[in-house]
Symmetry: C2
Subunit: 343 residues, 2 copies
Amino acid sequence: MENRTEIASLGEFRLIEHLTKNIEFQNASSILGVGDDAAVIDHFGKQTVVTTDLLLEGIHFDLMYTPLKHLGYKSVVVNLSDVYAMNAQPTQITLSIGISNRFSVEALNEFYEGVYVACEKYGVDLIGGDTSSSLKGFVISVTALGEVVPDQLVKRSTAQKGDLICVSGDLGAAFLGLTLMEREKKIYQENPNIQPDLENESYIVGRLLKPEARKDIIQFFADNNILPTSMMDVSDGISSEVLHLCQQSNLGCKLYEEKLPIADLTRQAAFKFGLDPTVCALNGGEDYELVFTLKQEDHDKIVLNEEISVIGYMTDVEEGQKIMTKGGNLHPLTAQGWNAFNQ
Amino acid sequence: MENRTEIASLGEFRLIEHLTKNIEFQNASSILGVGDDAAVIDHFGKQTVVTTDLLLEGIHFDLMYTPLKHLGYKSVVVNLSDVYAMNAQPTQITLSIGISNRFSVEALNEFYEGVYVACEKYGVDLIGGDTSSSLKGFVISVTALGEVVPDQLVKRSTAQKGDLICVSGDLGAAFLGLTLMEREKKIYQENPNIQPDLENESYIVGRLLKPEARKDIIQFFADNNILPTSMMDVSDGISSEVLHLCQQSNLGCKLYEEKLPIADLTRQAAFKFGLDPTVCALNGGEDYELVFTLKQEDHDKIVLNEEISVIGYMTDVEEGQKIMTKGGNLHPLTAQGWNAFNQ
């Protein structure tokens, strides 16, 4: 960044105008956007889904290794992932930010650039928000709205005994990306002359810093007349999420360690850090994949999609929540979850 | 508070369950609430309005003199005020909070108690949110949704030349409440043995700490077949808001100082602090009244409502934005706005 424009030199209203002036709506339902007390949405007979996420500097992201453009992109994507997890299409977002004066207008431009790239890629409209100063730290709050034909909505609580448990993509990479970046940060802090060693690590780092929401999976369901019996997105780790599906559907489950999808690059990174790839896959967070259950008779509909893995099935609640190890032992499934790694 | 329960002793999911377990929906449009990836809303042919506000400790509120219950109440109300300002009825909110470990579960209970009192009073449903830890400070983000029959929506940009400029309630009290509390805080910090002198000040303090949104005015419009030509809520000060209506409607205006509604208690407080009541009314923020424009022929419909004051009228943009003082001088209307007082 060559120039630095102080935010105070614009003032709140000119700053908002500067950041939002190029918005062009992509959804017919977006009637009125930034610039009034509230935005307005029409619905044309569909239901709206609403989800919101708070991202706080020092808790959810570290600006030492998170480019602002990526952060803007990710702030949108993590919310869209929740909308897709309802089998809905995201349509609008609101974005509120709190910023201290250590940020320049140019820095905010980068953040918003990422926001707009995500909006364009996923076809959503930024329709409102709030811009505030903060005493310290960067505060981001995104609310996403989406639409769904009522009988296509997929909740967490409607899985049935015998349903297949499926997951999109692969697991554990974002956690290993985080482990790597935290290690590099520590090395840098101890000796700023050492350059980061990120060779061959672009996959896990990319999964951490620039995740994608699984729009393609929702499209695949629509194209192939598939309606999952339950679904949620994987933000805290697949074990935690499957336990949510079990609890809310009042079921047990049986997962198979050998079926967990783990990318080769993730496996290599895990070995490099002396970590068990299975533990990373089960408990690592921020993968933003979709975990869903499917009637057994729908198995043929997904078998050719290489982006979907069957990892187990739902059982009676009395059988508990279990995972079968590669060695053939049946263990209770526990949710260490994302937080466990941060403590 | 006699007991202190650490938030960590519950964990995120049990904390959310604890805080949201008693929710009962008041709106038929609230289909699915807390506990899934997203909430679901039906619309029955109406349009949705969406607004969001970020409230940050140290910027928007000071916990030294803000009871948490009041803060919860206010966090909801300031968003509903934006929904009413579109001539819409609020129906749902999402609430995200970021909290450091200096807050106990009991403290959060108080905050949520205020949230639920506001939800019940205004008939809105809490349908979702996010709960996060923060490194420092209390972060609150509320998104409010409301509904409106499309032809009843009132924007900022649709005022016409000759329209009357009206405002609900009275102005300047919240700013004087803030001035008082900041003074008492300073005295307390210098000498903790001095008790705060808040006698006779409950009106201005109440306007600051527990504002109300003007649901009654929107109901009055509906009951009397009144459709304002433009409207917004007064959060930054009436001068700033009238300038917004002028700018977005491409008009000028003429306000009359003598018509500004100022409560006697506000006037007395202003004199006590050596402040000009008119300046407080024009530039003080957080009144959460409604400012709106009305066709002249609708004047008879509002004249008997003592909660509505006509304070001027819209003019050609060439005539500029002006205020006529009590002394008969015509001055340009300027927006010092809320921020000016904080600097």
